[in-house]
């Protein structure tokens, strides 16, 4: 097994961190482990370490056209992310959404925001959530040929989306 930092020497230091149900693994060679200050594996935070590593910062290369992708707003590219581990602008999150998914999953508790939202968006956010739920129910109703419920749901969706016209972010 190769060291995931230098990608040259064989990995002899293996670290595993389990948070909740997620497991993260790192395989390092002796020198890189020392350079990263992991002489005592009990006294460091894995996330700090991971963030300092090029390996974990890569966006998923399997994402379609990932290499050529550039943010239309700010011109940021995947290579830039690999260098800095930071994105270029808020819109980058849409541009690189596909490649970011796995990364977010590995570093956070969930992939959907829970918590505060700007007041102005809170309402449309709630409406958006409700619409999604109704749409799901509608699909199910259609599938099961429960047309009475489907008609009801369709009306409800119509009213709801009329109340918040096209103000649904994303």
């Amino acid at each position: 097994m190769q060291c995931c930092v230098c990608k040259e020497k064989p990995a002899t230091v293996h670290l595993t961190q389990i948070v909740g149900e997620k497991m993260q693994k790192l395989d390092l060679c002796e020198d890189c482990a020392k350079a990263k200050g992991i002489t005592d594996p009990t006294s460091f935070a894995m996330a700090d370490l991971m963030l300092g590593l090029g390996a974990s910062q890569e966006l998923d290369p399997a994402a379609a056209g990932a290499e050529l992708l550039k943010c239309p707003r700010c011109g940021f590219s995947q290579a830039d992310f690999k260098k800095s581990g930071r994105l270029g602008c808020p819109e980058c999150y849409q541009t690189f959404a596909e490649g970011l998914g796995g990364l977010l999953k590995s570093m956070h508790k969930g992939v959907r925001h829970v918590g505060k939202a700007p007041e102005a968006l809170r309402k449309s956010r709630e409406t958006g959530d409700r619409l999604k739920l109704l749409q799901k129910k509608l699909n199910k109703a259609v599938e099961t040929e429960d047309f009475e419920t489907a008609a009801q749901l369709r009306d409800e969706i119509k009213i709801l989306s009329g109340a918040a016209p096209a103000k649904i972010v994303k």
Partner: protein, 357 residues
């Protein structure tokens, strides 16, 4: 332009600020990362864009009621020494101290709010409180954020929450942290298992000056790492629980040490006092580590009549930039060590030798 040094509270005033459990929790902090929807993140924006962002954000922040009497300045107007002093006061990050044109700071008079502009994100807003008050700090910064969002258009996505330059801050953009003095756990050699179990809970343990720094003076920072998929309240609650447990462990460790190994404890405290009260040259690092033991001695009743504030003040005034500020000439590290020792000896004149029963 306001003079930073006139504006800042004195180290002695800073050391006199008290809060719940401040025997162990030196301070609490909550910071929120926010960005403007229509601009590139500071690390990617070109200089003119950063300047424009600063010109938008700085007046908006200064106009907040919480910042009515504030120190608001562009980073390029501060000297290297000013910035270092702000770092030593834990008001800005070391990263922010390295910034110049296009970055700024807004600090209120009480030093309970400090906003960094164009650090890694357009805004890094912090609420600071003495002692164990992370809930109060969160409530305070939440209010400030709610007022500010009426004036600035923050980047927010329905799925991902507040959008930040680094994906590690995505979602709530919150970092809740407390600075802990844990000499008991260090002396009892229980600190590593504690750090390990705190890490397992998805929390980070860092040294005195944050990311990548060592735990000088037995001072540790504990903070959340994950920001997406968990609400601010849940994060604050989790930190509260974990911190309460660490406090309990530290108190237990001190008690056990006193019962089982009193000689070890008094030896450490006595030697620390001996060196600090008599040294003629002492490094910043050694000073921190010995002051920590002196602080422990005060907590354990070895120095009747001496307040913890004396040590906390020395923690600040013996730092390189604070020391440099008191002396007008440019000092070498060796000269600083001499002056530092002089200052500590002078301050400890009024402190009698530790008593042991």
């Amino acid at each position: 332009m306001k003079d930073l040094h006139q504006f800042l509270i004195t180290p002695s005033q800073a050391a006199q600020q008290h809060g719940p459990n401040d025997r162990i929790v030196m301070s609490s902090r909550v910071r929120l990362a926010r960005n403007l929807r229509e601009a590139s993140f500071p690390g990617w924006a070109k200089k003119p864009e950063r300047v424009k962002i600063l010109e938008t954000v700085l007046p908006a922040v200064s106009a907040l009621p919480e910042m009515a009497d504030s120190f608001a300045e562009a980073m390029d107007n501060l000297t290297a020494l000013d910035k270092q002093i702000l770092v030593e006061r834990h008001l800005i990050s070391r990263e922010h101290a390295a910034k110049n044109v296009g970055s700024g700071i807004v600090l209120n008079r009480e030093e309970s709010f400090c906003v960094m502009i164009n650090e890694e994100d357009h805004l890094r807003m912090q609420a600071l409180r003495p002692g164990f008050q992370i809930r109060e700090a969160w409530n305070a910064i939440d209010r400030l954020d709610s007022t500010l969002e009426k004036k600035l258009n923050f980047a927010f996505d329905n799925e991902l929450g507040y959008l930040t330059a680094c994906p590690t801050n995505l979602g709530t953009g919150i970092r809740v942290s407390a600075m802990l003095h844990l000499p008991g756990l260090v002396l009892a050699e229980q600190i590593n298992p504690i750090i390990q179990s705190v890490n397992k809970l998805g929390l980070a343990v860092r040294g005195l000056y944050g990311e990548g720094t060592e735990a000088l003076g037995n001072i540790f920072q504990v903070s959340n790492q994950m920001t997406l998929g968990e609400s601010e309240n849940a994060i604050v609650e989790r930190l509260e629980k974990v911190l309460s447990q660490i406090i309990e462990h530290e108190e237990n460790a001190r008690q056990t040490l006193l019962e089982k190994k009193p000689k070890t404890v008094f030896n450490h405290v006595g030697r620390a006092y001996g060196v600090l009260a008599n040294a003629h040259s002492i490094s910043s690092k050694e000073t921190m580590n010995l002051l920590s033991l002196l602080r422990l001695g005060i907590d354990l009743g070895s120095f009747p009549g001496t307040e913890r504030a004396l040590v906390d003040e020395l923690f600040l005034t013996t730092q390189p930039a604070h020391l440099q500020k008191q002396i007008s000439d440019k000092l070498s590290a060796e000269e600083r060590d001499l002056i530092r020792a002089d200052m500590v000896r002078e301050r400890l004149k009024s402190v009698s030798r530790p008593v042991t029963k």
